[in-house]
Symmetry: C2
Subunit: 364 residues, 2 copies
């Protein structure tokens, strides 16, 4: 061990803290990525991801890279040059989707709202009628603003127009309801380091039957070999054919994290995130913080707040240096104006909220 | 912990076993990817990678995905559609490079030899003169055949023709000599799970000044956003601008693994790999195994051998089930004919070789 690192409470936009059990799973002795014992772990991880995404009869995999690679994997596999992609942009991660779609050679149309706003489903519906996209994409929990976006409503419109629906569930998965089959979402991706309470490094990804069909009917190879879900599916499917060396240790950790989620129960976990969020909002308002997002549109796991001080960065640094608590700064047009306080996975607990509030009380 | 996994000795083509210290580093409590304490770790990792690659004045980073993504990152950043890429193909990983280059839209020319052969530098030189490529690429240690390829000689030819030279060092880095600056190699990538003795999941990657210049002069955006080394360089460079969430735990492990490599010393480590290899060859020949590759062209860390039995897969399975030792099967046209025995990182030791030989003696 090189030196001792500080023990931080991670209340930013991710990573969140991982449970000791998850870290212990990470440190298990390695086994080979084609070892029958490892393939059992992988089977379980894939099954449990299907439960989390509520995606039956699809392909659910832990992609061997972070959440942003999950975004690119979905877009690069489901789009071909010249396709029309319609992207809802309500923050940094919506913009990123649009940028990735453009790099896939798609004609990319954005329905954009100011950061902090919800995209009205009617505007998406109008654009779907006008543009006839082959793919509609939206970020479920926009991590740059703390606003929930109307995935189910937009998915309904996309479906009825024959377009595929792609949802970014990086911040939402296992912290709030995500239902691919029920909502008609054809593809989704997440990250391990948010509400799953696992270190960053993998992107849980789900393709439903319509997305798989689109993939199989492509007219040209996917421009990325590493993210080619046809090739990757041969390893993560029945045949278990080598594509690249799976990140064995990270998959051990994800396996443990998923079992913890399912042991707790999804509904109980969502409720725990909601309760921690409400406790945080009460406490922060008492201290003079303002919530950026109006009630009813707030994400439980990611709270954007305006601190009651002129220099947000200085206070954030004090919180880190004196109390070992990390919160996030603003992104994009919100940089320097807001904090992003994450209560994700292990950290969505009253005692964690109270620790943050006590530290802030001392500093203010 | 879900259940107890078998303790395997990993003598396949990777992953190799990680030292307990490396696994302990992996399990350290998480800190944020923009935390000053983490950026110190990252600085050290990047510095130590520069030492390992022997690449001064370049960009050295731990790419947030496995070795195959390092391959794609180099090709996708250094090639533009219509460019000519000349690839030496002497096995599965050379073929993979060619496939990735084609997906980048490059006109891809291959100089091919049979699996098990060395590519003659003269043939590469002739092709360089005939095709005027902008990029020449070669696998240093071809993991599918166990043959060392003449990187330094080919790099000299590439340089003198004004082409960039790219080397796949997935299996070679820290197990045999790799010298980017001295050899005139402009870009290289590796994997963590081979001679570095770290779990799979990251791709150490190095760009020299000429590669960085090529990147800065591109006429169009890199087709991959996740692997865009311009954007990634903003996080791994001075400005530390957020691009994606770095896989913190894996970088802790790599940090520890790199320090172990440098504590041992590169020359001593290479010598340890050579000695273990010679001991293995002696022992295997005594048992009736035949080496696929003639002396002088063999890789020390990856030994392709023909087992003295009709059913190689059955013997391989017995080795795993009865002795908890994994060796690799053949890839491509060598499947079913050879074993690939890896002596990488922690496993390049006489006592490990002896354990394998004893197990084989019992089974044969």
């Amino acid at each position: 061990m090189p030196e001792s690192l500080p023990e931080r409470l991670l209340l930013g936009p991710g990573p969140s803290n991982a449970a000791p059990e998850v870290r212990a799973a990470l440190a298990q002795p390695l086994i080979g990525h084609l070892d029958p014992a490892f393939l059992e772990v992988l089977d379980r991880v894939q099954r449990n991801l299907a439960t989390l995404f509520r995606c039956r009869n699809g392909l659910t995999i832990p992609l061997s890279a972070t959440g942003s690679a999950g975004m690119e994997a979905c877009l690069v596999n489901l789009l071909e040059p010249g396709d029309v992609a319609l992207i809802g942009v309500a923050g940094v991660f919506g913009s990123r989707m649009a940028e990735v779609a453009r790099r896939c050679g798609a004609r990319t149309v954005c329905v954009e709202v100011e950061m902090g706003q919800t995209i009205p489903p009617e505007r998406m519906a109008d654009a779907i009628r006008a543009e006839r996209p082959s793919l509609v994409a939206l970020v479920h929990a926009e991590t740059s603003t703390g606003v929930a976006q109307p995935i189910a409503e937009v998915a309904r419109e996309a479906r009825s127009a024959g377009a595929l629906m792609l949802a970014d569930c990086v911040t939402s998965l296992s912290g709030m309801d995500v239902r691919l089959d029920d909502w008609g979402v054809d593809a989704a991706y997440s990250g391990t380091q948010k509400c799953l309470g696992c270190p960053p490094g993998l992107s849980p990804l789900a393709l439903g039957p319509r997305a798989i069909e689109r993939l199989n009917k492509r007219s040209r190879p996917v421009q990325s070999w590493y993210l080619d879900l046809g090739l990757i599916g041969d390893y993560f499917g029945q045949s278990r054919v080598y594509h690249h060396t799976a990140p064995v240790s990270m998959i051990f950790a994800l396996d443990c994290a998923l079992q913890r989620v399912l042991d707790e129960g999804l509904e109980a976990r969502f409720e725990r995130h909601r309760e921690a969020h409400l406790r945080l909002v009460d406490g922060l308002e008492e201290l003079g913080f303002e919530m950026l997002v109006p009630e009813g549109r707030r994400l439980p796991m990611l709270n954007t707040v305006v601190p009651p001080v002129p220099d947000e960065a200085a206070l954030r640094r004090l919180l880190l240096d004196r109390h070992d608590i990390e919160v996030g700064g603003g992104l994009g047009s919100l940089a320097g104006r807001v904090w992003r306080i994450g209560l994700m996975g292990e950290n969505a607990r009253p005692e964690i909220v109270d620790r943050l509030l006590a530290a802030l009380r001392q500093l203010l």
